[in-house]
Amino acid sequence: MGQIVFAAAAPHAPAIVGLFDRAPPDSQKVVKETYAAITRELLAARPDVLIVFANDHLANSRITLYPDFLIGTAARHSGPHEWFQEWIGCRDYSAKGNPAVAKALFQGMTRRGIRMSTRDENLKFDDNISVPVVLTDLDRTDITLVPVLQNCTVPPFPGPEKCYEVGIALRDFIERDLPQDMRVGLFGSGGLSHEPGGVKYYKIDEAFDRAFLDLCVRNDHKALLKDITVDRLEAAGIGGTAEVLSWFPVMAAIGERPGRSFGYTGWPSFRCGVGGVIWDLDTRQ
């Protein structure tokens, strides 16, 4: 059976790379400390594969035919996609993929009643995968990457309960379908509150963000599913805040283990609340 050895989640707002130098020191500190801790603990956990749940920003499929979970099965995952290079202002990368695990995930989730899709070609990555890869230098490690691009923005998208169900199936897949002793890392990429392209583009819902981070640190699943509804997510920023649904498969897969956060910033020019969580896998509540 495979084993989950690392679990974390954090925002991927492009401005935490592109506008980092202009941010106030307190905001820089949150970005730096969050991703430094994620990088340090990811490397220490020595996963063979990192499965990243991250929302697709309408970059890979027509809005009229939009998959809810799209697994990248390519042997390499390179980015950022051409159009996004100028926007994000980060270096190019090419991370090792893991077609075997990606395809096993597709088959395993299908068997467990979870509809996913796959694509063999290099998916078009914007901030969703590029920010965590570049900030952790994942492409400069031996850790392979399996991206799962999630629909968090084209209604009707899978809500908290469905994403939680995906996480339960994911845990079963890792434990039963993956090879003996395979070490698996899980990462949820997205959030916190923001409304990309909306009238509240510069508004951040700090109260929501802080309450959400607190729930994730406690990782109390009953409270999480009760308090975090689609309506609440959309009230905190239409079309953006729901990206935190990519954290749900991770939290469901690891069970109710507590986590640690590394501060929070709501600097308006990030156009996104920023704070992350690493969960402690050797502690069960």
Partner: protein, 105 residues
Amino acid sequence: MAWEKFNPNLAAHDLVQDMKWDPKLREEFKRDEAAVLDRYAMMPEERRAIEARDFRTLYDLGMHPYLGGQLSRFIWGNDAGKGAIEASNKLVASLQGHSRDIPDS
């Protein structure tokens, strides 16, 4: 905008997604916007809203806000610094009908 106005049928969505995927189309849009718009089966009011940079009307017709934000970048600029700031400032000003409460940086 709330999702009840969202209309996935708008041809403007195809326009924006095509521009994301095709640098030549982006160049042509900058050079001859009308010729590009001619190739998309838009409602007259949808096309007028794009030509007038009237994002409020475009969103009321059902434009997805994420793709609306990207359209603003094709029009005003996409780089991580100045261009994107100008794009998002003008987009928000159009949506809210005034330029108040928009940060400088």
